[in-house]
Point group: C2
Chain length 178, copies 2
């Protein structure tokens, strides 16, 4: 997918709506993908993000070891793959191959971008003080990419038990703030 | 609005999709409302949630002082009020009066429920270690309420600069996990 650099000041516009994301990690020759929806913005610029990743996940050790990851934001057309990725473990499955997701080299981190995702955020872990107690990692987004395609991407939001709501209509209301 | 108790095990289904919420606080005779969308689940049961509230907000001191709040989840019909609440400060405005939002006594905390919101989560702050550096508060949901109405509520997701996406169609995909 053809992509362009996205100003870091616009990263919050991708994560603030709470989309389902896929997080890629790489460490000591292993790479993996995890589907996730427990994330929040912490600050605008530089973009600081918190993600919650259970230590039961194969990706946990890769993230902890490498202190890097990529947040890949997906459109509804990748819904099946995202659920598939969430239903198996990287300990026994090469998820890139199994779900035909293409790893592309990132510019700032070793974890790969997922080519099929319309936006990719290259992140480094900047704080692990809450990783042990809450599985919460604080990330800084170093570099952001977004598709050059003009069509509006519809993201997914997970409502539990395999039920997802897809982005519907847009409304605009004057806001003084961000 | 007529409401019933919601099992704590289902709270994540409300917050995981990343809806715009309104957080109510009360401390030393003052109560306030803040519109927010920087929140994430941390754990399922008991439901543990992180919210990021800037110290520039009037609600920050009320939350820090009282160590309690209510997360009020709103449907699209409250969009204008939610933006209005976000565009003024409780330091000079009684937002309940100005936006015709009805405070209702909570069962576990002093902060009020907003009656017009279809779900209300009574929360206590359980960890403020990241409040100073990241404005991040860890909350435990003590009690949850949900409307008895059967119609599907459409929540809002903020995409920045007053642009919101409203919940669209539902898709179901088999998931082995939560």
């Amino acid at each position: 997918m053809l992509k362009k650099s996205l100003p870091l000041s616009k990263v919050y516009q991708l994560l603030e709506p709470g989309p389902v994301i896929m997080v890629t990690t790489a460490y000591k020759g292993k790479a993996n993908i995890m589907t996730m929806t427990w994330q929040t913005m912490i600050d605008f610029v530089p973009p600081i993000v918190a993600i919650v990743m259970s230590d039961q996940n194969y990706s946990f050790d890769l993230l902890k070891g490498s202190k890097e990851c990529v947040i890949n934001v997906l459109g509804v057309e990748l819904a099946k793959q995202a659920v598939g990725v969430g239903n198996c473990t990287g300990a026994t499955v090469d998820k890139f191959k199994k779900f035909k997701l293409t790893p592309v080299a990132a510019s700032q981190v070793k974890a790969p971008l997922i080519d099929e995702c319309f936006a990719n955020l290259e992140c480094k872990v900047i704080d692990m003080k809450m990783a042990k107690k809450y599985n919460l990692f604080v990330l800084e987004v170093l570099k952001a990419w977004i598709t050059t395609a003009k069509k509006r991407e519809r993201t997914l939001h997970h409502c539990g038990k395999g039920v997802f709501v897809v982005d519907g209509k847009i409304i605009k209301l004057p806001s003084k703030k961000m």
